[in-house]
Amino acid sequence: MNTHESIGGTVPARLLARTLGLGLFLTLGGPAAAQQHAGQYDQVDIEYGAQIFAQRCVVCHGERGDLLPQANLRSGTYRNASSDRELSRVLTDGVPNTAMVPTGYTGSELTALVAYLRNITTYDPSAGSVALGDPARGRELAEGAGGCIYCHRIGAEGPRFAPALTNVGARLSAATIRRILLDPTGAMLPASRPVRVVTEDGEVIVGRRLNEDTFTVQLITQDERLVALDKTALREYAIGTESAMQPYGEIFDEAELADLLAWLLTLQGFQR
């Protein structure tokens, strides 16, 4: 039985944006809210791409990307790709029978590399990165003032109610992670929305949604139980639209956010 509607005593209260299960609830299938898009490629991804390029591509392609005459990456067109999807495929699969060998990049790295390649002629490497800082300082912030570890699990440690950050740097693009830190509510994935249900016999269950279909919903409760419910057998069913996480732009300055982001991008799971 679980009728608490907040996350429990371990999280410092100042870190809680709002209690779960309260606030705005969404009407299913409601009209989409139009939002502005900052342009085709995000600056954060471009910077992350530049960083990966410096580490893994300059040996062959040169610092400016124009060292190889048969593959001048500054020319604006590619012999082996035209769309972004094809470009990602060239990076993943390589170019057969050349030094450009297949390489396993994560989804976030591919997004970043494509964003960088598309902007390689306008990007100024000497300016350095604004969006990405020092991962070690970022880790200190996450464990200290940011309090991330009070809610998030990393590897085998930490609570399970919020999504684990173990491989967040591989799963989500740099731009997406930054957006989540600045506006957790706006960027919340559906599989992360707070759900509040009242069962036919009156039990109140508050949890984070993991999956849903027309007839059923699957969630993780605050006390870390996996629960599946038949929606037709519920007295009340509401989906919250506000994240339990607060916007970190209000707590950290740009340099601290850059440190935090750099650290999150190092969280790549156990695959490599």
């Binding site: 969404l26 299913l28 299938g29 409601g30 009209p31 989409a32 809210a33 139009a34 939002q35 502005q36 898009h37 900052a38 085709q40 067109t77 035209s82 769309s83 972004d84 999807r85 094809e86 693009s173 731009a175 997406t176 957006r179 989540i180 706006g186 960027a187 919340m188 994935l189 559906p190 599989a191 993991l210 999956n211 849903e212 279909d213 027309t214 007839f215 989906i239």
Partner: protein, 572 residues
Amino acid sequence: MNAHRSTAFAAAPEVPALPDSLLDAACRTTLGAPILLVALAAGAQVTSDQLVDAAVTPENWLTYSGTYLSQRHTTLDRITPDNVDELELKWVFQAASLEAFEATPLVVDGIMYLTEAPNTAIALDASTGRVFWRYQYDPSTEARPCCGRVNRGLAILGDKVFMATIDAELIAIDATSGQPAWQTTVADPSLGYAMTLAPLAIDDKVIVGVAGGEYGIRGFISAYDVDTGEEVWRFYTIPGPGEPGHETWEDGGDAWMNGGASVWLTGSYDPELNLTYWGIGNPGPDWNPAQRPGDNLYSDSVVALDADTGELVWHFQFTPGDPYDYDSVQIPVLVDLATEDIASEKLMLWANRNGFFYVLDRTNGEFIRGEPFVHVNWASGLDESGRPIETPQGPEAVTYPGVQGGTNWYSPSYSPNTELFYVTVWENYGTVFRPVEVEYQPGRVFGGGTLGGPIPGAANLPGFGLQPVNNWTDEVGNGAIHALDPRTGEQVWRFPTTDISHSGILTTATDVLFTGSREGYFYALDARDGTLLWRERLGGHGMNGPMSYALDGEQYVAIAMGMGLFVYGLPE
């Protein structure tokens, strides 16, 4: 074992009935009986008259959409709203392919003909799912379909089944032996041509169309002699210089040569008018009309062709100069319906990817009415000729419906019983279109832009992937089944679903509506009011349309979900 099965069916007129004495003799020898009967059924011919009269043999499913009218409606009536919840699983066929299972099986006298992606044709026993033969064709590695190496099924005529391949070959396969009879090259796969549709067999021809609208192809529909595979006619879906309609490619240059207008779903046929109707895909490059000014005929149109000659008799364009990828390849649903305000009874019903539900006069292509069935903001409505009154949303604004459309390739259904049209719909789903200038390079994607969702960073385009978790924001939209009234264009009922669906729809004479969903359900609604009658969790995406057939008077319903074809029937 069903030893007497074949006697339950009306034999084709051309096939002499097996003398009773012989049948008796066969049944007396216990070992011989099943073998003889199977051989009998497999050898059965399907005549072109049988295809015309497919509706009178509802135990068979003879074309992709059931009959030439493409109503995906069965007159079989054993399964009813009262007993549908007794349906039980009879057998499952598991495909040895990880591609989307989009094929609709054919059933002829107890034999099911099916394809498995990319291009394996299979004959199996419709009562047990056991395979008689498999013909595996390995398509060329030059094939580069945009959206999966899928195949939607076969056509049958005479003693052959016909398969259109992903590398743009047309193959005739002997229906009894499973061995190829002839093979014809339809187009060059290295230029992006591909075929994913089930062919349509009419009279003595088999008709196909080519996919590749994202690769700068010039689309066409072509007909081949069923006996020899020789091309009989070809209709280019983009008129060449000097042909009427060429002036709608106003650049005056080469845009028409790489203008797309692909064909990737099976057409319909009205035998009385001898017209075959085909839906045509988007113009290319996608999303960037600035590179191809004009209406771009016959992209995003329906064309009515003389089935003997392939000559264009009429056309109707849904989305002129399309910037949104609103392929109009949906199945042309032909309906005979007497109404007070419409002179013609010969109608064509069309819920288009562009969000409007059209009623056309299929004798001449005249527009009768068109109403939005989902939220539409790219046009404020249609004028009296059916042309959209366009209201472009501008840079970075969300266009409704989004790039996948208000509906797409999912087969709709029409029930002559309820006189309603049923369609799988994506509600409240939009896209931000960002056109980009692109250069045509042979065999390369000719995309013309990028796409965004209304919620930056969130999963926006509900993917075609096989992820078991529903992981996009509710604001991005949801699925639904809509029942639309052709008399008014209005919605009669809707059954909303949390996730979107790629599944087609089957209706029955008893007012049961069957469909599948990406959520993994195979379910039945009451076709009259949309009430949920029954659901079964099959746990994979529904990517084809359900169909129905009968054996020994027992009705079956088959649907592909995930990698399997699931066949349901009532308890014995």
